[in-house]
Amino acid sequence: RTPRTMESTAPESKVQVRLSTRHADIELPEDPGPLLVSTALNRYNLSKLVNNLLHTDTHPIPFEFLVNGQFLRTTIDDFLTKHGISAETTLNVEYTRALIPPLHVSSFEHDDWVSAVDILSQSSPGGIWAKGVQSGQERILSASYDGLLRVWNMSGDAIATSTAPNNGGRITSLKAAKWISDQKIVAAGLDNVVRVYKYDEDERTITPSLDLYSHRWGVNDIAVHGPSNRILSASSDNTIALFSSTAKENPAAPSNLLPTSTIASNKRQRLSKPDKTVPSRGPLSTLSGHASPVSSILFKPEDATVAYSASHDHMLKTWDLPTSTCVDTRTTGHSLLSLAALPKLNLLATGTSARHITLIDPRASATQIAVMTLRGHTNAVVSLDSHPGSEYGLVSGSHDGTARIWDVRSLKASSGLGDGQVGEDVYTIQRDSGPGRSSGEGVKVFGVRWEQEVGIVSAGEDKRVQVNRQIGA
């Protein structure tokens, strides 16, 4: 007899588990009470057990299991040993849908680098504000360094392309674009102007309708809030501007920033023969306090009178918009390049030039600067979005040419680097055009968005918008 079979005949160690979930649609039909299971079980075995109890054996749902808030990545036995938990205790085991590998669905090719993407769908912010987006009518908005906006359907047809702005011969490369409703788009970039566009699906047109002037250097990011028609823009001039998307609500534009304001640019403006003039307006207010370019801006998800900003000056700031004041500043160790909110966890995620993502609790009561650090990217993390269905999930886009999916409950075994706990990515999405590399040459990801109906949409230096979806999720 080999020792192997001898081992298997040894008495099996067992532990009591109590299964629960936070998601009503996958709750067990009847509470089985504490179950006595083998400690040799791992995630896969437990997933089979739950599918059995749910009678979903024919179409099993992959589950993940959390014990004391941490993912089970080993056998129960190893988990108990590692955390010094006695097998005598009853384990509370929470189960949740596993993140499924996001498969490449399609890519939409552009003529130039694609800097930003946004999604219009039933559950996207723009779709919710519009109240008119039908299922199957999802749209993707892309902004390019060629200065143009494009709207795509999910089959990859470019339904409409914007007309180029007339700005006195200056560069038009775009850096940010958002749906504020199903008929209104806001975009901005290196010519410092925040533009509102009218999108007409029937006419297949994207037409500039309002030029908003405040910034003296390029705009890196914008945030929109449909119900109040508010726009926030983050600029390399170290300021943030607040505008209304309705022209008449804004004051007159600062004259020194208009393309017609100087002899030289006015001459160029006239030479380029604008076909139509668009109204120009100035900001409702500007927010000053950052000492370096502001990379990202966000309305607080549950309160649009509050905004968060992240800057190259290493700071994350909280702003009270009615009074235009900075109410809180968190200083980190690196240039901050991207920002997303995890509202249910009271956390903000911010991507850095130092290749990681830092999770920060922006509440005044929080004492720890960084709650958690997510490591895995090999170049700057320049775009972030939250999971549409899980308060723990995030997607990040990096100059390393990958987008990564994170679950903040997925921790690295050990780190000892400070900055709280260290998380690792659950899945890495490569570019359809080629694998990622730390220098990012040719494959840098500039923008990511994630919505339930569409999946993960990413855009980058490979001149593509790429759609990845978790089939079966």
């Binding site: 560069i171 003296r216 390029g218 100087t262 640019s265 370019p293 030039s353 700057a380 100059h399």
Partner: protein, 380 residues
């Protein structure tokens, strides 16, 4: 029994001296032939490059996107580019052949920044026009040290607005901190090798009619009216107000390639074609305080971090950059702490030329290098 080694102060380990650049984050491609010079703008958003293809290019620092370019010359390489200090304007100086070109790259500027920049460059035309004309003055028979002119419609339509032409090829441009003066060095220029130009007057002066040795570099002191001139073997500092020689530094080098003055003004680094990097403490002797030999080939450029971080870098023909910690204490009793931190590799050596230039970000521990391989690289 005491080990004498144990009495020496311990140097800190590189791990304790973070942050410093360790990895290549961006490769800037698009230049044809060698890139000879790089300069990051005062806001830290753009990087300008110049090289053998005669082009000046401006790139988005973090993405590597080429945003603007102009061809300055069909025959000459662009040997050096330098942004003028100051954030209310955006003026780039670039040298090709015997000329310095002053550029306002308006396509990437807001109208008001463009106007501020144009006003700076235009002021001198008025000054020049108000002077008595040289041509009618028989007493002035000598050629002026530089001819200031408009570069012509093609270049002006791109924002290249002023051209100042001296007598021989310019290899170095360095601005005074206030941005009204800049110095140029033409190593083959003999008595006109070092020129100081006044932007607001379109005026060029030759302060050193009798320079001992061949000029290699020249730089203004960061806060005092002192001017440093490096020849092949030595560095002289002059008091510009008193018009007198202050000090002669003897690095013991066969051939100096470049120098840089510490932002505090009391220390100076020297790179040499004979592969050495030398640190001079101006409060100590005229000999170097430290000699660093880390490279297999010539050192072409040396640069201190300008924004308060205790870092300096050099660039070598062996294809690498070396990053050092260099901490200066404002205490006469304590000398600078120098620790080698990192060798940055990536540039390919082409025709025995490697890394031609290096510049630091104004605030962050990031630097950009210019390579003979036709690329620039951002390291962070």
């Amino acid at each position: 029994n005491i080990d004498p080694e144990s009495l020496l102060p311990k140097l800190p380990s590189p791990d304790e001296l973070r942050p410093f650049p360790t990895t290549c984050a961006v490769i800037f491609r698009g230049q044809e032939g060698r890139v000879r010079s790089v300069s990051i703008d005062p806001s830290g958003i753009f990087v300008a490059s110049g090289g053998d293809d005669g082009f000046v290019r401006i790139w988005e620092l973090l993405t590597g996107r080429q945003l603007w370019n102009v061809k300055l010359s069909d025959e000459d390489a662009v040997d050096t580019v330098k942004w003028r200090p100051g954030k209310e304007s955006a003026v780039l100086a670039a040298a090709a052949g015997e000329s310095v070109f002053l550029i306002v790259p308006f396509t990437i500027l807001s109208p008001d920044i463009e106007q501020n920049s144009r006003d700076l460059l235009d002021a001198g035309w008025g000054y020049a026009a108000s002077k008595p004309s040289n041509t009618t003055n028989i007493a002035i028979t000598k050629e002026p040290p530089a001819k200031w002119s408009r570069p012509g419609v093609r270049l002006e339509s791109k924002g290249v607005l002023v051209q100042a032409t001296v007598r021989s090829t310019i290899k170095v441009i360095n601005w005074h901190r206030k941005g009204d003066y800049f110095a140029t060095v033409s190593p083959r220029g003999q008595s006109s090798a070092v020129a100081i130009h006044t932007l607001s007057k379109h005026l060029t002066q030759l302060p050193f009619r009798k320079l001992k040795g061949l000029a290699q570099s020249a730089q203004f002191h960061p806060s005092k009216s002192i001017f440093f001139v490096a020849t092949r073997n030595s560095i002289r500092s002059y008091d510009l107000a008193k018009q007198e020689l202050v000090k002669i530094l003897q690095p013991g080098a066969k051939w100096i390639s470049s120098i840089d003055v510490h932002p505090g003004g009391d220390n100076l680094i020297v790179g040499t074609y004979d592969k050495r990097l030398l640190w001079h403490d101006l409060d100590l002797s005229t000999k170097p305080y430290k000699t660093l030999r880390y490279h297999q080939e010539a050192i072409r450029a040396v640069r201190y971090h300008p924004g308060g971080l205790p870092l300096f870098a050099d660039a070598s023909d062996d294809g690498s950059l070396q990053i050092f910690h260099g901490k200066v204490v404002g205490d006469l009793m304590e000398n600078a702490t120098i620790v080698p931190l990192k060798v940055l590799k990536g540039h390919k050596v082409k025709s025995r030329l490697g890394v031609m230039d290096v510049d630091w970000h104004p605030r962050e521990p990031w630097c950009v290098s210019a390579g003979a391989d036709g690329t620039c690289r951002l390291w962070n």
